[in-house]
Symmetry: C2
Subunit: 436 residues, 2 copies
């Protein structure tokens, strides 16, 4: 039977990399497997695994960084709270694209959203005694659970698939009513399933976060990439959906990695609501002093202890990109819509080969096209499908690693240019012929 | 009595900033106090508080960053383990200036040594069950203790003042013999006291670290700045003193902040010994899998979860600076010797005003001049002296915040150019007249 890679070769590579349970293989392991197979055969693997931006990094950001490097700021410790111009532009960006008022003081640069969630987990889990568990609205980003493993914090999760719309309320309440949830986390649009929470669902999350005094950590890594809606016009509705309209208990994470194709520079903004920023927590005062002031402690006693600020010249780059976006001079949404075009082509190829979209619907209709989507095949488990696709030279990520209870894989559209899409299509056709 | 600031004014500012115990005031608080007094009076404060590099950031690093910004690496996630050219240059730099062989794989870029120590504390405290305390050879850098507060880890410390030379053995053994110390940490040259551990002392630390299986975290932030010795010739002895010659249980922290005046860009290298990097720990395997391999887990399961790599273009800057240093084309030691000249002038002014150097000797002679030194005055406590110096417009840091049992303050020489030194000298003369 014609395949791209010989079954024995793939299984030997899997054994050599000690990937005993393919259903739980990490993105890094899948990447290593793809690299090993190509090294042994010279045959390229179609890489749908890692979510690496494939567009040019924003020229606006790079030019601003280069100019900052002509000054002496590279010598000077960045302020713990961020440089003023970046704080101001972040606040303005949040107003322009989310329609929210968040004071500059609550907009804090971090070394990528990974540092943002790490630091947020720490302070949110420490601010109220007895609230020491994180709740994941899954499927989600495996790294955030790994961060809790590093810290030794507890977490729980549920797969949202069967709890969309008004049904979300009961499921959330089941977790929150015990009173020990400090933090609710999800990404929207969703990594890996690309589902988008509706305003109704966000309202439920917000109301319950307020009632049970949990802090919502909203990961907006794929900001404005719900391409079904006419977003992207600064200071004009409609705006990116956000829980911030329904509770004061929130921290938003705005990463530069995908929206400005700036993943290499490690920068994001965490935006803390004014109410939370200025709230005082006795447990924080006992631990850190400073009158228990959430914002000051987050900046000076938590984030400062992790990285001592964010790369100084990169902050100037981020400020310039945000300013250009708010001024209507940098249409980041138009740039990233390339991912939607690529996803549409990939989905077509998968559906024609007999695959199905696993998370296929939002309460208000079919999901859109964007950076990720999820596919399954017949009764294959996630682990079986991962291996089967690799026999056809296609590398993906198991949905089981994302907290999903469904069987299937995550596909990333970012690297799928015309050539890769052609290769993917031909390989899926071969897959379909062999599975007839 | 003539002073620079009125006593009532200073005490009101202290009250307003809620600095109830001046002996425990942080660097940030002292900086705020100085800023407030200048804002209220227009009179500048002589700033000996923060250790901010005042030299030009390395042009070699900045040019390399600018060139990297012309490529597309800003879009691409940096490899978790660091870019190959930086790993190779780090290994070569360690050979050139420390005379050590550390494989490139063990040389890992981090977002400054602050992230390096944070991540190292995590893995060192998790790698052996029952070893869950950090031992500080004090005086030391207060931020490292604050990091343990964030993580909820235990620590203990001793002031080395009365335990120099062979006496160090008994004191170390007193702490290590209980068997629960995971990590021994110190900086050399020392922040705040500028004492330098001798080869004999480092040998004692190394031998005991091996015997009691503790990992030494050696902070080399002031690398090669023991200006008493003819260091700084690549690939030729004498080399920077290091514990690495006396144990395999070590992690070195090499920050770019001071040696290349690159504090703004947040980059350092943690260099893990080959033996430790490749050692397998059952407790790490239970927690993270990966066969418990120290190096792989440190990179992929710990550091990656904190920042997901280090700013991509800054890694190119660091690689270029290290290469130029190893090639003998960037004499970073000659640049930083400016700090020694400044410290010499400051010490002269303090001694003439009746002050004394608190940590004045190493076992083999008087301490040298460099980035910091410690001064005391008669029977003043640290807190009293902090306040008294501020009445004369001089801002410093209390030794009590550094784990020192001695009374006095830390003085930083970095900002003391000719003008500032003149101001400091005149104010100390006034201080002396008023205390006659």
């Amino acid at each position: 039977m014609e395949q791209i890679f010989d079954t024995g070769l793939v299984d030997r590579a899997i054994a050599e990399l000690r990937m005993s349970d393919l259903g739980n293989a990490t993105i890094g392991q899948m990447s290593s497997l793809a690299t090993m197979l190509t090294a042994q055969t010279g045959v390229p693997v179609v890489r749908m695994d890692q979510g690496v931006p494939s567009l040019e990094p924003s020229i606006v950001g790079r030019r601003a960084e280069q100019q900052a490097l002509d000054t002496n700021v590279a010598a000077i410790y960045p302020p713990a709270e961020g440089i003023p111009v970046l704080k101001n532009e972040s606040s303005r960006f949040v107003k322009a694209f989310l329609g929210l008022d968040i004071a500059p003081e609550g907009c804090i640069p971090v070394t990528g959203s990974v540092t943002g969630s790490f630091g947020s987990f720490v302070i949110c889990n420490q601010c109220t005694e007895g609230k020491d568990r994180v709740l994941f609205v899954d499927p989600g980003f495996p790294i955030q659970k790994s961060q809790l493993g590093v810290l030794g914090y507890k977490w729980e999760s549920f797969d949202i698939y069967n709890h969309r719309g008004e049904k979300l309320r009961a499921e959330l309440e089941r977790h929150l009513s015990r009173g020990d949830i400090s933090t609710i986390i999800y990404s929207n649009p969703n990594n890996p399933a690309w589902i988008c929470l509706t305003e109704d669902e966000l309202q439920i999350i917000g109301e319950l976060a307020t009632r049970y005094d949990a802090i919502v950590l909203e990961d907006l890594a794929y900001f404005e990439m719900d391409f079904r809606r006419p977003l992207g016009h600064p200071f004009a509705p409609p705006y990116q959906a956000t829980v911030a309209r329904y509770t004061d208990n929130y921290i938003l994470m705005l990463s530069a990695s995908k929206i400005f194709s700036y993943a290499g520079q490690r920068i994001a903004i965490v935006a803390v609501s004014d109410a939370l920023f200025n709230r005082r927590f006795p447990a924080l005062e006992r631990r850190y002093g400073s009158n228990g002031h959430f914002g000051n402690i987050m900046i000076n006693a938590v984030l400062y202890m992790i990285t001592s600020g964010t790369t100084h010249t990169t902050q100037y780059g981020m400020a310039a990109m945000m300013r250009a976006a708010s001024d209507g001079e940098l249409d980041f949404r138009d740039h990233t819509s390339e991912y939607a075009r690529r996803a549409a082509g990939m989905k077509r190829a998968f559906l024609e080969a007999g695959f199905h979209i696993v998370y296929d619907r939002d309460p208000d209709g079919e999901i859109g096209d964007g950076f990720f989507f999820s596919v399954g095949y017949r009764e294959f488990t996630s682990g079986e499908l991962i291996r089967e696709l690799m026999l056809y030279g296609i590398s993906s990520v198991s949905l089981s690693t994302t907290g999903s209870l469904r069987q299937g894989v995550r596909a990333c559209s970012s690297r799928m240019d015309e050539d890769q899409l052609g290769l993917l299509t031909r390989r899926l056709e071969l897959f379909a012929r062999n599975h007839r």
